[in-house]
């Protein structure tokens, strides 16, 4: 009697049903063609751009179910721990988003998580259209380990055009640091905060220092610093820190409560005049329906004209990828002209190849594409290309302290120590 009553209870039947169901659904999911893409592109423009890329892929390799494994969080702060756990656990996604340089080579390739895709560069003709500076940062021992989909420019100074006109400030096609300080003084005297900063994520401030550093040491000094030929105790680095300390006097007081996009909003709404940030800013400006050269203007960060700090995004091929064939098709789409054009128009970046159709892009992106084709290209440190993650973190930490105490000596000392610990001379 007892068992009978138990069996007839609806809850028991529900459990039994579920128990039968689970193996079936597991089998159903296992069979078809699939591709798992891991990224941290979840916000408006980014998600739309990734989706456009998926659509191009859907045409090229129909019938594949795409698993869009995104983990939200700016700059991948939340995504990376998840990815690391999956890689270490031997359960990699087929392909994941990575910055070229140290992040790709030092973390993933070095630890043997990536498979080379060198042949694709020849068969797809990428070796002719992708700048060598970029492919070098994807290569180790003559093998290439990733394909770039888009490139952002890090050293851009954005300004509220109408506000500057109102105060009689004209910005030409380039700007020196002196001109910037003169304009900033004028604005400050008129009661306007010159520079909008949102460093609730401290990398936003680290990026300002990165720009000032480039302005002070130049592209050659930049490369020397990061390959160990120049010491971080060099007087030029100290001078960059001093200039940065001066810039701090002109920024908004509530910077640590704002995120970078809120700072951009402070600039467009006229509470501040300038903001300096990579050109993912352009996505925010486009979203707010503001017009290039009308509502806002831009110029290379003061003193960095002729150099392009690139913040590039690429995809990898996992070693032992569960769906290798599909993943290679995916990488072909990522590197293709069609795929990059569809992706970058929405992302607010430019294609990583030099033969893209310029007419599809707006005035700012055309300016950036010209700069990309003609200027000296240097890798970003703040976004993980020029230096190992440990140095990147140490720079963030040093900037966190410096923004408050403005002590040049301890700042430089911390960076020197970090460069030594990270062993960047390799």
């Amino acid at each position: 009697m007892k068992t009978k009553r138990k069996l007839s209870s609806p809850l028991t039947w529900l459990f039994l049903l579920l128990a039968v169901q689970i193996p079936f659904t597991a089998f159903a999911a296992g069979g078809d063609k699939k591709l798992e893409v891991f990224s941290w592109w979840t916000s408006g423009g980014e998600a739309a751009a990734l989706d456009a890329l998926f659509q191009v892929y859907g045409k090229a390799d129909p019938g594949v179910e795409i698993i869009n494994a995104t983990v939200a969080g700016g700059g991948g702060s939340a995504a990376r721990p998840v990815l690391q756990a999956r890689l270490a656990g031997g359960n990699p996604p087929d392909t994941w988003q990575a910055h070229p340089g140290w992040e790709l080579l030092g973390q993933y390739v070095e630890a043997n998580y990536c498979a080379p895709i060198t042949e694709l560069y020849k068969s797809e003709g990428w070796d002719k259209v992708v700048p060598k500076t970029l492919t070098d940062l994807l290569s180790k021992d003559q093998q290439i380990y990733g394909v770039l989909v888009g490139v952002h420019r890090g050293n851009v100074l954005w300004y509220n055009k109408k506000l500057l006109q109102k105060h009689g400030i004209n910005v030409g096609d380039k700007m020196t640091m002196e001109e910037f300080f003169a304009a900033a003084d004028k604005l400050k005297a008129a009661g306007i905060t010159p520079l909008a900063v949102g460093d609730s994520g401290i990398w936003a401030s680290a990026q300002i220092f990165e720009n000032v550093l480039l302005a002070t040491v130049g592209p050659k000094g930049w490369n020397d610093l990061f390959n160990g030929k120049m010491s971080w105790e060099d007087p030029k680095v100290k001078k960059a820190a001093e200039t940065y300390a001066k810039i701090l006097e002109y920024q908004n007081t509530d910077h640590s409560a704002l995120s970078w996009d809120q700072a951009v909003k402070a600039m467009t709404e006229g509470r501040c005049a300038f903001t300096t940030m990579g050109d993912w800013t352009y996505g925010e400006l486009a979203k707010a329906k503001l017009k290039d050269n009308e509502d806002f203007g831009w110029v290379s960060f003061p003193g960095t004209d002729g150099t392009f700090i690139f913040v590039a995004d690429g995809f990898t091929l996992a070693k032992g990828a569960p769906h290798e064939k599909e993943c290679i098709e995916w990488l072909k789409v990522c590197g293709s002209k069609e795929g990059q054009e569809a992706f970058n128009v929405l992302k607010g970046s430019i294609p990583a190849r030099t033969d893209a159709d310029k007419s599809k892009f707006g005035p700012y992106l055309n300016w950036s594409m010209r700069s990309f084709a003609n200027d000296e290209l240097v890798p970003t440190c703040v976004h993980g290309s020029a230096a190992p993650a440990s140095f990147q973190q140490a720079l963030n930490d040093a900037v966190t302290s410096f923004v408050v105490n403005k002590e040049v000596n301890s700042f430089v000392k911390a960076l020197t120590q970090a460069a030594k610990d990270a062993d960047m001379t390799k």
């Binding site: 702060s77 990376r80 721990p81 690391q84 890689l87 270490a88 030092g106 973390q107 993933y108 070095e110 630890a111 043997n112 998580y113 609730s200 994520g201 401290i202 007081t253 509530d254 910077h255 640590s256 409560a257 190992p388 993650a389 440990s390 990147q392 973190q393 140490a394 930490d397 966190t400 302290s401 923004v403 408050v404 105490n405 301890s410 911390a414 610990d421």
Partner: protein, 366 residues
């Protein structure tokens, strides 16, 4: 050994009883072979069962707690500083700890965790006690109020952190009240500056020891950080207290329920007033409750991560940075697994400093 004493007592109590009811006996009163076997079997199961039940849990704890503590200590001494695992010992021995204790950020962490724990413990226990006494006075609606005060404890720290981040945002939060209620109007009309605190964005350090004691300890003058109370930590303490004062209150209410009314009445007959009853009778009797609450809140405080991560992050100039965030940053962002492990080991030691004496005294009492 002492813990199993009660079990032994129980056994002793039953051993003298004749086993007629369960074990078959022959006419002379001694056990038949079958009966002997059954008795032995029962004895065996009685002895073997408790260890059998406990063993799986013991194994799980040994593997997932103690083995991983040992592994973490090993990692903290290893060369594992990138995504590739490298468990070789790093030379010279303990260099990772040495580097960590030279980092200004770590100094700020130790300062913050000390300041935060002190302020948070006193305020949450203080508020909890006051609330418990007020509710003990049987105010109108005390049963509703009791639940109301306990509700925040049901939230997760992440929710609390985000809500309080909005409240303490200098542009859109509580500062609008100063304008809206006319407080700032009043101040400016009297010729003062309008109130506009930066709250969590303010990097200032109150009561800095560096200047005060700099004359006595010259090392303090050149210290890498300001030793004092970081202003940005205060809003975090407020948020944490809001969440856990209700818990402390519940502990005290439970404690007060065990104090018999006769004691209070006897005191009242002897002429004690309400204040004296609380300070002389109730509070001393609540001492064990205070200790337990302090231990529980203290170890929450030392390990705190989620509340601060959601509310302020590292804060301006590491004003609200704590070891938990340090571990997360160094392990997963900088991929310095050895450094993250070293910080975890120090956190473990800090928590043990609180927990172990408590457990020790509890064991001694038994």
């Amino acid at each position: 050994v002492k813990r199993s004493a009660s079990l032994g007592d129980a056994k002793a109590r039953f051993e003298h009883l004749p086993r007629r009811s369960s074990a078959p006996v022959d006419s002379e009163g001694s056990l038949t072979p079958v009966g002997r076997m059954r008795a032995r079997w029962r004895q065996l199961t009685q002895r073997a069962l408790p260890p059998l039940i406990v063993t799986p849990a013991m194994i799980a704890i040994i593997v997932f707690v103690y083995a991983f503590i040992a592994l973490t200590i090993w990692v903290s001494l290893s060369k594992w500083g990138s995504l590739r695992m490298d468990l070789d010992l790093r030379e010279p021995f303990g260099i990772t700890y040495q580097q960590m204790f030279a980092m200004p950020r770590w100094h700020a962490n130790l300062r913050n965790v000390f300041v935060f724990t002190t302020l948070f413990l006193t305020s949450s226990i203080g508020f909890g006690l006051v609330l418990a006494i007020l509710l003990d006075r049987k105010l109108i609606g005390h049963s509703i109020l009791r639940n109301l005060f306990l509700f925040p404890y049901a939230l997760s720290f992440i929710v609390t952190g985000i809500a309080w981040r909005w409240i303490f945002n200098p542009e859109t939060g509580i500062n609008l009240l100063f304008d809206g209620l006319g407080i700032n109007h009043l101040i400016t009309s009297m010729g003062g500056q309008p109130l506009k605190p930066g709250w969590t964005t303010d990097p200032a350090v109150l009561f800095s020891l560096n200047d005060w004691l700099g004359g006595i300890f010259p090392a303090l003058k050149t210290a890498s950080i300001q030793w004092g109370i970081p202003l940005a930590l205060i809003p975090v303490v407020v948020a944490a207290t809001w969440q856990l004062a209700g818990f402390a209150m519940a502990m005290y209410i439970a404690g007060m329920a065990t104090i018999s009314d006769e004691l209070k009445e006897a005191a009242r007959i002897d002429g004690a007033n309400d204040f004296q009853i609380y300070t002389k009778i109730v509070l001393p009797l609540l001492h064990p409750i205070t200790v337990s609450t302090a231990i529980i809140i203290g170890h929450v405080s030392l390990k705190i991560f989620d509340l601060i991560f959601a509310m302020t992050g590292s804060g301006p100039g590491f004003a609200t940075d704590v070891p938990g965030i340090f571990v997360f940053d160094q392990t997963f962002k900088a991929t310095r697994y050895n450094l993250g492990a070293a910080a975890s080991v120090v956190m473990l030691i800090l928590v043990s400093l609180i927990i172990v004496p408590y457990l020790w005294s509890n064991l001694r009492k038994r």
